[in-house]
């Protein structure tokens, strides 16, 4: 009775049957023909199941149950049609389940046994995650793949909303293969054996508050748990100054759930698990922002030895010390990378980069990262168009006539590649100031000279000078110090 045939690979099928329970039975004689093509295949079996080929259209099976003495007891013939055969894929086997405690992520690997089938088929995998002592279902995910007649190992990640240390996590998987041309009933495979990632609450001396000293983004929902030793009991769990309701995970683990976490102080927000009046454990949670994309990135050189880049950092991340936002300057043409020493407390950010021999154009990527995220700003710059000299130094004024003077000044820098434009401001008492523009070839850490004529005799003048790049003006240097000089008598 109840002959049932199931195939796992579309080529062979396993048929099982029941026998009425009256009397004791010996061996069974089984004969079958496939697609009505004689001769029948016969054999004896002690079991109530046989494995025979899946027929193209139908099979006829004759089952003779013998008594212990070998005499035929009952014979029955079954007609097995393709539509009567069920297709149930083999139970998948988990190859590995690997936890990454730092990211609370489980990595699942399994083989899809694709080699069992002769042609490509659509396969659906149901992965179930369970948790806690009571093995409650946390989530069930359907993953799709294409079977390709080879055994392919699939890898899938799942990130838990709580640290894996908090309590044990379990995973099982089953599959459904969509064989469109198969006319019989199709069903999900059995669930795989369950794989477990034990929590700290299963370790004999396991205890602690988790996650340990982690960083999360403002607005996150965070689950923090307290694992304690057997026999202990949690009196209360606080997040900062607030007591939070506890969620029981197991007899040795409870958690709190912080929703929409707000930015923490510089030293982080303490999560305290009070076990008794003088016994507590805890962790520190740092809640901050991912770095803002730097604004107004600008790079210039004052001396053609060093490039100075500045930018506006945007919103503070709220993370400090070793969790602070870090900056690096990468130059794509040369491939050179420089990490920037930045004081997170002052608003303007500065980073130095060496001027490279024979390189005029710089393709900068300012990389910004902190434990929550990363971003970057780009800048392509021709250095000769970003010259911002230092203030001229050692300005001296000398005169050998009553109406003209010679000025000398020094500029710290190597400007041999460009022409300089300098502006001399002449003022006399409270009268109006006059500006004289003079351009000249740049030099290597040079002293520059200029002559001014048409001055008044025996008159006290104040002189100062500033310079910039002549061909591609970018910025004036600061003014030099003022130098006073009185022209000779007529």
């Amino acid at each position: 009775q109840n002959l049932k045939c199931v195939t796992h690979n579309l080529r062979k099928m396993i048929c099982t049957w029941d026998v009425s329970s009256k009397g004791r039975h010996g061996q069974t004689d089984v004969c079958y023909t496939t697609n009505d093509l004689p001769p029948p295949v016969c054999f004896k079996t002690k079991e109530k199941r046989v494995e025979i080929p899946v027929p193209e259209s139908s099979s006829t099976m004759t089952i003779t149950t013998n008594s212990n003495s070998g005499t035929a007891f009952v014979t029955k013939e079954f007609e097995i049609h393709k539509k009567d055969i069920s297709f149930v894929p083999l139970t998948p086997r988990i190859l590995s389940l690997t936890p990454d405690f730092s990211t609370s992520t489980l990595n699942l690997k399994w083989s899809d046994n694709g080699s069992v089938f002769l042609y490509g088929l659509d396969a659906f995998w149901q992965i179930q995650i369970l948790r806690k002592e009571a093995m409650e279902k946390v989530t069930q995910v359907t993953y799709y793949s294409k079977l390709t007649h080879e055994d392919v190992i699939h890898s899938w990640n799942w990130t838990s909303d709580m640290p894996l240390e908090c309590t044990s996590h379990y995973v099982k998987i089953r599959c459904y293969i969509n064989v469109t041309q198969f006319v019989g009933p199709k069903d999900w495979s059995d669930w795989s054996p369950i794989e477990e990632i034990p929590g700290k609450d299963t370790e004999p001396n396991g205890s602690g508050v988790f996650p340990q000293d982690t960083v999360v983004a403002v607005g996150s929902d965070v689950t923090i748990c307290c694992v304690h030793e057997k026999g202990q009991q949690i009196k209360r769990m606080t997040y900062g100054p607030e007591i939070y309701p506890m969620i029981r995970l197991s007899s040795r683990s409870s958690a709190i759930r912080v929703l929409n976490a707000s930015a923490s102080d510089a030293s982080g927000t303490n999560v305290v698990c009070r076990l008794s009046e003088d016994d507590m454990d805890g962790t520190v949670l740092f809640v901050g922002y991912a770095p803002d994309t730097p604004q107004n990135l600008s790079c210039e050189t004052s001396n053609f030895l060093k490039i100075k880049c500045t930018w506006k950092p945007g919103r503070p991340s709220g993370l400090y010390g070793k969790r602070r936002t870090k900056y690096s300057l990468f130059e794509r043409i040369s491939g050179k990378n420089v990490s920037c020493e930045v004081n997170e407390m002052n608003r303007e950010r500065v980073c130095g980069f060496p001027v490279l021999a024979d390189q005029k154009t710089y393709d900068f990527v300012l990389g910004v990262s902190n434990p929550i995220g990363q971003t970057e700003s780009l800048l392509l710059v021709d250095l000769t168009q970003r010259v911002h000299p230092k203030a001229p130094e050692k300005l001296t004024v000398s005169g050998n006539s009553s109406t003209s003077v010679r000025l000398h000044w020094f500029i710290n820098g190597s400007f041999a590649e460009i022409r300089l434009l300098c502006q001399i401001e002449v003022s006399c008492g409270h009268s109006e100031r006059r500006l004289h523009n003079i351009s000249m070839s740049g030099g290597e850490f040079s002293t520059y000279t200029a002559q001014l004529n048409a001055l008044h005799a025996y008159t006290k003048y104040q002189f100062r000078v500033r310079c910039s790049a002549a061909d591609h003006f970018w910025r004036w240097s600061d003014w030099s110090r003022i130098e006073e000089h009185t022209t000779l008598e007529a």
Partner: protein, 195 residues
């Protein structure tokens, strides 16, 4: 001639003791202020009880009255050498964790560390007067500090500062005892002022 030497040594000792008492008093008030800043900046509960912290010298002592002057100095010196190392470690951790974000706490910690260093030197001076000199600092390297989580470090810091405040009180009493002409008798007039 020997009598004159004794008198000047006693005077020198009394002077060192009274200056030490003032230093301990100042240190104590600064440590108490630092404790308030520390608790607030580290987000701790001021009433939190902290279990005895390994490596932190305990100020409480049994049969304090029976201690000799040298014992007092040696125990004080060992304690403040330990606190000097502990505070230096706290300062380093504070810099690593907070960078420039909390210079107030950093500066307060550095100030107390300076005072502890000064007080340690003071104790060494007193021991030199005892013509036995302070024990050298070389010795077996202290075992590497166990890895502590941030929360445990915060609690440890609290424990260190609380115990240091207690030590400052004890040191004041020890130095008062030392300032007496013969430390054993309790009747002798005490030159020291209260901290």
């Amino acid at each position: 001639m020997a009598a004159a030497d004794n008198t000047s040594a006693a005077l020198r000792r009394r002077d060192l003791c009274s200056r030490g008492i003032r230093l301990a008093g100042k240190m104590r008030s600064d440590v108490v202020d630092l404790l308030d800043t520390y608790v607030e900046r580290q987000g701790l509960d001021a009433s939190a009880s902290v279990a005895a912290v390994e490596g932190v010298p305990v100020a409480a002592v049994e049969r304090w009255d029976e201690q000799t002057g040298t014992q007092r100095l040696l125990e004080n010196l060992a304690a403040y050498r330990a606190f000097r190392a502990l505070l230096a470690q706290m300062l380093e951790e504070q810099q690593e964790q907070l960078g420039e974000a909390d210079t107030t706490l950093g500066q307060a910690l550095a100030a107390v560390l300076l005072q502890v260093s000064a007080f340690t030197y003071h104790l060494e001076e007193l021991l030199r007067l005892e013509s036995r000199g302070p024990p050298s600092e070389e010795g077996p390297e202290p075992p590497p500090a166990p890895h502590l989580s941030l929360f445990e470090r915060k609690l440890r810091g609290l424990g260190v500062l609380r115990e240091l405040a207690q030590w400052a009180v004890r040191s004041t009493r020890d130095l008062r005892q030392l300032a007496k002409p013969n430390p054993g008798s309790s009747s002798a007039a005490s030159l020291a002022e209260s901290p």
